[in-house]
Symmetry: C2
Subunit: 304 residues, 2 copies
């Protein structure tokens, strides 16, 4: 079970009723945050989610609207008595930027571990989250993220019995452990598990032009969260200039990637009524939904 | 006419419905802000006040809840096409802290001028604001501020006529100008103005123990905005430890200073119902009011 919450939906500056775009997910007691603009901690509080289990913060890039809320969040996590290390992931410069911002949050009761992205694509695995960072195309180095929760194959009791595997090992094998029995025999998960089943996949990208690789990364996502800075079709030129996307460009990516659904976010402050453009966008990709502050979904493994 | 708005009333961390404590005033087309915690720009937008005319930002100190909103505010002021210089006032370290935070707001279309406070008391005059910064007692160097709009004496037409001052000079003398006439005669405002009349005075202090000098600075204010971190009388020990005040300590200062009214602010996140303590506090100083996000008042010169 993966809870996903779009904490805010604004780009550039936070507005009353439209906080800056960031994403929080919860899985197995561990929270992961992507981006942390000004007021993100208020959005978390408003949603009723908590600070202490935030184990990972990923950054797309270091424009202020994606990181300005960090010092306040770190202090609030400290006040929530977090002591476990926090992992931060982001483009080169991460430690330098975070340390500069921490001039107003110098003392924290937990360690920060930095993972700076240097390759066009990188993989990390933290607390069950399989994270793929992929470079996108903005006016500074910027990454999108794929978050996956893989799901192992079905346990086959008949095969376990046939291989004469003692019952106490069954659940350990199911969790993926390789076991050496007291009599020297070795049991592997492959002996008792069917082929891996469909897991959960969320793809998140903001602050980028609609480069084709995004569709490839987002392919088959349960949820594709994509920037849509402008709803007005005539703003495509502006989107090109500032390295953002229109709703239609996002929808064309989604039409290729075929996620279960797409949420648009990172609206320009000038875009007061994004709903005015929804009908047109759905002609390109019907499962387009507008992001809304606090909009959330719980993704569960298929019961098929 | 001086408009005063308490943008937020929280201390430590911003909450939904209770942003961090900061003050904005407007006088004669020039805005002055004291402190700028996370989400201050949202509070300004919510109030409907504007960013471009912010000419001065004063800081009490550099704990995150008083300055974390600065990079975002500066960018938003830049987006509002401000090009005039901005003056910042605050304790020693101002330029270093602001430059560190500006790692995420490096390019601004206006200049920043720094005034670092080094004396226990300093006076500045900017755009008609007479500012007195006074040192208070927190766990880091912290200042309170008195903002005054002085008011000249009444113009005495009879004296002007008696002194044979030509009519075109009258309004210039009234504005305080010293004039050398073409015939060499010198006219001074004192020749035509009565004694200075009562101006407007607002005193603002947060993050301090109730040292007696505060009452002296706040004496005779139209409005005294004072921190009240705790409403629960039993938290006086905590207030002493963290260098804050209870409502009752603030009210005792007000009882000495005798402002027209006092607004309490900078409530602890643990203080959910500050109104529960108001009756008791008013026994000490009847004109105590609870601050509320966006609470504002327009102060006008006495018409007596």
């Amino acid at each position: 079970m993966l809870d996903v919450c779009l904490l805010g939906t604004g780009g550039m500056m936070p507005l009353p009723g439209r906080f800056l775009t960031s994403l929080m997910v919860r899985y197995n007691g561990s929270n992961l945050l992507i981006d942390c603009g000004e007021a993100t901690q208020i959005a978390i509080k408003k949603k009723g989610w908590v600070f202490k289990p935030i184990d990972v913060i990923c950054f797309t890039h270091y424009h202020a609207d994606h990181i300005s809320g960090l010092p306040g969040l770190l202090l609030t996590m400290g006040n929530a008595e977090r002591t476990e290390p926090l992992t931060m992931v982001g483009p080169r410069g991460l430690e330098r930027v975070v340390n500069a911002l921490r001039c107003i949050a110098p003392e924290l009761p937990f360690e920060i571990r930095y993972h700076e992205l240097t390759e066009p694509e990188e993989h990390l695995e933290i607390n069950g989250y399989h994270i793929t960072a992929f470079k996108v195309q903005h006016n500074v180095v910027c990454y999108g993220y794929v978050l996956e929760i893989p799901r192992g194959g079905r346990f086959d009791a008949a095969r376990a019995k046939a291989a004469d595997i003692p019952l106490p090992y069954w659940s350990r094998l199911q969790k993926g452990e390789v076991i050496t029995a007291e009599d020297g025999r070795i049991f592997t998960p492959e002996m008792v598990l069917g082929p891996a089943r469909k897991g959960l996949k969320v793809t998140y990208t903001t602050d980028t032009r609609p480069v084709p690789s995004i569709a490839a990364y987002a392919a088959g996502s349960d949820l594709f969260i994509c920037e849509g800075m402008y709803g007005e079709p005539e703003k495509e030129k502006k989107a090109r200039e500032y390295k953002h996307m229109t709703f239609y460009e996002a929808a064309r990516l989604a039409a290729q990637a075929k996620p279960e659904e797409m949420w648009l976010t990172h609206f320009s402050p000038s875009l007061v009524y994004p709903e005015n453009y929804l009908e047109d966008v759905r002609r390109i990709f019907p499962e387009t939904h507008l992001g809304k502050d606090g909009k959330s979904i719980t993704l569960t493994f298929d019961e098929k």
